[in-house]
């Protein structure tokens, strides 16, 4: 067999980049088609309000403990870090302002997104992937039930609603964590801490946090459902789907967080 010509060898890295780009675009297209197909099915009957409420409870209510713990520790740690760093140039008084801005604009939505992605995307991918490899999805179809309406749409819409609610709760708990540490260990006066917090608490920041949370919720459920629904193979396939769901949800959360922040504050 003859060796490839020098020109082909020179171009092979570009060919590899081209192949990877095409594969990535094809994957984005498949996910977008999956999401559009789900939304189209979801707006026509039959509807499954019971399934939606069940998922809302699972994604929202049952995530509260992990979200609450994450938020309180993060709020307290943030207050401690700002106090320690600020003390180098006598700026300890910025603690309440930085805690409120940091929690509401960034840490609240992102940490809730990541925690819920770890908990929910993986569970959705594993459940739907198992249903795929055990033919339960085929069984649904033969029993004249649309999988998109029955399984995917309730998860997608429940996550879209649950994440903003969780972020509201996380922000409140995170601010409480910062206040608790500042008033019990850092010597802050409670009334003046709360006064500064109130002054730096802006409606715009909350709106941005809720927008981010909605976007994150959509991506979390979309990645979990897409990877689970398209699982191939047996147990190894379910494992791959679960891993891919979590990794892709994490990447999408961090990338979309940057894009939303840059759009809101970038010049």
């Amino acid at each position: 067999m003859s060796a490839p010509s020098p020109a082909i060898s020179l171009l092979s890295p570009f060919a590899a980049i081209g192949r990877a780009t095409l594969a990535a675009l094809a994957a984005i297209g498949r996910v977008a088609a999956f999401a559009l197909h789900t939304v189209r099915r979801a707006v026509t009957p039959p509807y499954y309000p019971g399934r939606f409420l069940e998922q809302l409870g699972y994604i929202g209510w049952l995530s509260l403990p992990v979200v609450g713990l994450t938020a309180i520790f993060t709020g307290a740690a943030l207050a401690q870090q700002i106090y320690t760093a600020g003390s180098r140039f006598s700026a300890q008084s910025t603690v309440p302002a930085v805690v409120v801005i940091g929690m509401v604009r960034e840490l609240g939505p992102v940490l809730v997104g990541l925690m819920v992605a770890g908990r929910i995307s993986s569970a959705m991918a594993a459940e739907l992937g198992t249903m795929r490899v055990t033919e339960q999805l085929d069984a649904l179809t033969t029993l004249r039930t649309d999988s998109y309406r029955y399984l995917i749409a309730p998860r997608l819409f429940a996550a879209l609603i649950a994440l903003p609610l969780l972020v509201l709760v996380a922000n409140a708990i995170g601010l409480f964590g910062g206040w608790l540490l500042a008033t019990t260990r850092l010597g802050f006066n409670s009334a003046s801490y709360l006064d500064v917090t109130r002054r730096f608490l802006s409606v715009d920041d909350f709106q941005m946090a809720l927008v981010k949370a909605g976007v994150f919720g959509f991506f979390i459920a979309l990645m979990g459902c897409y990877h689970g629904f398209t699982t191939q193979g047996g147990a190894a396939g379910v494992g791959n789907a679960t891993r891919n769901a979590v990794v892709s949800a994490f990447v999408l959360i961090l990338a979309s967080n940057f894009l939303i922040t840059a759009t809101a504050f970038g010049r």
Partner: protein, 251 residues
């Protein structure tokens, strides 16, 4: 003369360049029980999935009651699927639901409909397959493999379909439980008057439940005949397969 309940003409399907079905011609008459035998990977399950519309053939025609099934969408496809019940190889019971909701799923399509009435319907169908009411609230994982098969059978018959597909109904069961399932299939076909299409490796099962047997090899039907001719087919491929011989034309 009545038209066939199911008729497949020159049906072909490939996956990734590998031809799984390569021109399948097959017909099943109303009220008939037909078994398709063949090696693993010979395309038996794909045949069923093509008829059900779960997999779209690359070419060929599939008619059900004379109506073309390939390419149906929406309500027309739903109406077509209402004619079918399916027993999956691994039962495919919904493990997040109690047994009574599994059995009645084909009637409710997952909606919460009059629980008391649905439990009564589930009980009636479970009794038909030899199970009693004490399992109504159990989960599938709490049942043995044989009981799961019977629950899956109850689920398949609950909407009273005209046609039932059985995908390896006795696989994974001991000979006694396999015979229980075979008896149930025979009685369901006789009592309910359904048309049955079974795919199986189990020769005892094929001989017991089928009126006719067809053999699928390399994506084509290479032999068909009455069950009594199964061991006297005159076809070397069928002879090797039914006798389970390592030597022969099938390598």
């Amino acid at each position: 003369m009545t038209s066939p309940k199911i008729e497949m003409t020159d049906v072909a399907k490939s996956f990734g360049g590998t031809a799984v079905l390569d021109g399948v011609n097959l017909s099943v008459e109303p009220g008939e029980s037909l078994a398709i035998i063949g090696q693993s990977g010979s395309g038996k399950s794909v045949t069923l999935k093509c008829i059900l519309g779960l997999v779209r053939p690359d070419r060929g025609s599939i008619t059900v009651d004379g109506e073309e099934a390939v390419g149906l969408k929406g309500r027309a496809q739903e109406a077509m699927r209402a004619k079918f019940g399916m027993l999956f190889q691994g039962s495919a019971l919904f493990d997040s639901m109690p047994i009574w909701r599994n059995v009645t799923f084909g009637l409710t399509q997952g909606r919460h409909v009059d629980a008391a009435r649905m439990r009564a319907v589930a009980q009636e169908n479970l009794e038909r397959v030899g199970l009693d009411a004490h399992i109504l609230n159990l989960r599938p994982s709490e049942l043995s493999g044989g009981m799961q098969k019977r629950v899956a059978l109850a689920r398949a018959i609950a909407p009273r379909p005209e046609i039932i597909f059985f995908d390896e109904p006795t696989t994974g069961l001991d000979p006694i439980r396999a015979d229980v399932i075979n008896n149930l299939i025979v009685s369901l076909v006789d009592d309910l008057g359904v048309t049955a299409l079974t795919i199986t490796h189990d020769m005892a099962s094929a001989r017991k439940i089928a009126h006719r047997v067809a053999m699928l090899y390399k994506g084509r039907i290479i032999w068909r005949g009455p069950r009594d001719r199964l061991y006297d087919s005159g076809n070397p491929y069928v002879d090797q397969f039914v006798q389970g011989l390592a030597d022969g034309p099938i390598q």
